[in-house]
Subunit: 237 residues, 2 copies
DNA sequence: CTCCAGATGTGAGCACTGCTCTCTTTTCTT
DNA sequence: AAGAAAAGAGAGCAGTGCTCACATCTGGAG
């Protein structure tokens, strides 16, 4: 009857558990380094095992398949991004518009610093891989963090986004659902504005990081800034 | 001194040249089928050779490497998309706004019908692959096709997009350069609006096709429509 | 027509991958 | 101390991209 699954008298993790956790962390770190180095989805479990001075088959004691590793990396990436955004928007002394700009800037900075992670999350970077359900919760945190300044701005001003048409039949309830899932109290029109702004920013970063701006924009700082400012206007910030 | 490289008295392509062209086409077709089937970048030259009843090494007579094949697929995809957009916007009897909506609808339809191709072009879909310079010309055709209705609308109304700030130092010249490369005569502010709208749409499709809308939006028809309408407004159409 | 160069196809092989076995060693619990 | 569970070792399977030496076919020059 499994006495000590950390049940009674919590005696802390055993050395073995510690070692395992450390190895899991090490594996993920090496995997990220590998993705960053090859700048693409050439993730080799055997190479990780090699760097870990471990025989190749031993890595399957930690991850049953390559996809499981990738899933973990994706979840971590969402969390990392959400953290960055929450930090960026946490400065309560700044106004909603400024916090929105801060959030967008932080998002771009995060993406530029680790494009492989951005690709992991917002690109179809990995062959044959389809994100499982475990990733939708952390994905929500990102959107929620981005919403915070907008919701605050809305609550403060009380104005409505009158240039957005009020959403019709299917869209309205979808927007209400999503807002509900994220725990936000905003109007459907505001929610629509947020999703549109998010799409716009993800699109701009996608194009920039995948090299669609080379030869034209690039550096795309000014372009991104202009887009973000425009989105702020459109969100009534 | 190479008499007949189709120089004088054009005797048409030799049977061998015809066979080669057919094989190239066959290879690309099989490659696309494979990408569509696996829904990801698991493109195997050996598998293609197998389906072609050809020994695996023989495929290197046609493409020196996997990346070369992918590059060809990307170029074809750009061309296919540009064709679709040009057809969609070619109805001169329709007004600029309607043509813009048509173009966006066509873009989404193209992307949904062949998500692997969209991923090829606007995602970082292939491990270790970086698009070479050969792809930037066909990429321009896509943007140009999307621009056409906007430029027409601008020319017709003569109004300026006064809600866009006039672009500053680096951005202004970048915008002018890009407009020049695409052969468009539009103001910097209009060009900025077009690029922003393009980003927005690519972002929305990226999110939709990569499954970021599942559980919330989806079907995303209404959401996409709302975004596109809003972009039309913002473009003064 | 013959003949020969160049294009095309063959088959073996290298180094790599993800993943599955069986077996041994280590570690923790009882 | 003993037994169970976890972790590692090592061989192996089927697959990959790609190279090379060799054989075959084809088209145009003489």
């Amino acid at each position: 009857m499994l006495t000590c699954q950390n049940g009674d008298m919590a005696k802390g993790p055993t050395p073995r558990e510690v070692a395992r956790a450390e190895n899991l962390e090490r594996i993920k770190r090496l995997a990220l380094e590998q993705l960053a180095a090859t700048s693409a989805g050439e993730l080799s479990l055997r190479a990780i095992a090699r760097e870990l001075n471990i025989v190749s088959s031993a890595i399957y004691r930690y991850y049953p398949s390559r996809d499981e590793l990738i899933t973990d990396l994706i979840i971590d990436a969402y969390a990392s991004l959400a953290d960055a955004l929450e930090v960026a928007t946490s400065n309560g002394r700044r106004g909603p518009r400024r916090r929105w700009l801060d959030a967008c800037t932080a998002l771009r900075q995060w993406a530029i610093e680790q494009p492989h992670r951005f690709g992991l999350v917002y690109g179809s970077a990995i062959p044959g891989y389809r994100a499982p359900a475990d990733t939708i919760a952390p994905a929500g945190r990102v959107l929620a963090a981005l919403c915070a300044p907008v919701a605050a701005g809305q609550a403060a001003s009380g104005r409505e986004l009158d240039h957005w048409a009020v959403p019709g039949r299917p869209l309205g309830s979808q927007l209400r659902d999503v807002a509900g899932q994220l725990g936000l109290v905003v109007s459907e029109r505001t929610m629509l504005g947020i999703v549109a702004a998010f799409s716009s920013i993800i699109g701009a970063l996608t194009l920039e990081l995948n090299g669609h701006f080379v030869g034209g924009f690039e550096p795309a700082d000014a372009l991104f800034r202009a887009i973000v400012e425009q989105e702020a206007d459109r969100l009534g910030l």
